[in-house]
Symmetry: C2
Subunit: 148 residues, 2 copies
DNA sequence: CTCCGTGCAAAAGGTTTGCACTGGT
DNA sequence: ACCAGTGCAAACCTTTTGCACGGAG
């Protein structure tokens, strides 16, 4: 994500905070910035590592709590990729994932042609669908090479 | 999954074991049976609870190890739904999921019309795609009711 | 008989919680 | 000044690992 885009998202975040009366702390701002600055899907611990350079006393606890808050606010997303560790993503628009079943590496893809994907009302089980993600599972080039 | 189907899957499992020279233990058979018997996506601990009624001395460790073996054999699948706990599924054919972002409840859906979904070669990043799953995220009827 | 699988206990992460203090509004 | 947010430590929960024993091939 480029500098301008990040600035925009941070300002948007400030607006949501004020509207909800949520205190705008340095920790929240810097943690959000750290998530937006990365294109991979960092774990809570990776975020902690990145942010504690700017905020030396930053505790892991705070990172977890702030990430929860940000997810709840809808400014970042919680992902559930293989590895059993929660990972976070600043991209909140629709995108999909390629997941290697061997090394568990994840690559983001944006395939606009899937946007027409729709669930028939009879299949919705009373859900109000807000979005969807397609997970493609297979073997990455690297792992395929290693196996042969 | 009905009785006959489970029987078939268990026999299929025995065949794979013999072919690979893997010892066919009571634990493996009963753990697989427990996963097949459930339509929700039980966690390792839920499997442990279910099976230890039949095998009182069963240890959690064994459940984890057997589940790994079964996944590696391809007779069950490991899922990564919200909740940060690995969950397992006996359904190994393609199916999709409705996930409530509030209560994290998961419902299986089988939507054959998605079977045509295909990734353009330029989007494959060298991956060999084997399968895919669509995750629909939204609010279930129950949570929507509670919020209003 | 030989190994692999199992059970137990302990360790190893990741995440959550209780409490006192700090800092934003 | 008030209340929410933070830091620290400890608790918690899921999963993994080391080692000795027992059962399957």
């Amino acid at each position: 994500m480029n500098e301008d885009e990040i600035e925009g998202r941070l300002r948007e975040f400030e607006v949501i905070c004020r509207r909800r009366g949520l205190p705008l702390t340095v920790q929240r701002r810097d943690i959000l910035k750290a998530v937006l600055e990365r294109d991979d899907h960092p774990s809570a611990d990776q975020i902690h590592d990145a942010v504690k350079e700017r905020i030396p006393g930053l505790s892991r606890t705070t990172v977890y709590r702030v990430l929860d808050t940000l997810v709840e606010m809808g400014v970042i997303r919680r992902l559930h990729h293989p590895g059993a560790i929660a990972r976070f993503d600043g991209k909140i628009h629709r995108h999909h994932h390629l997941i290697c079943r061997s090394c568990q590496h994840v690559i983001d893809i944006e395939t606009k042609s899937f946007d027409t994907l729709k669930l028939a009302p009879s299949q919705r089980h009373g859900f109000e669908i807000e979005d969807f993600t397609v997970h493609f599972v297979g073997l990455c080039a690297e792992c395929r090479r290693k196996m042969s």
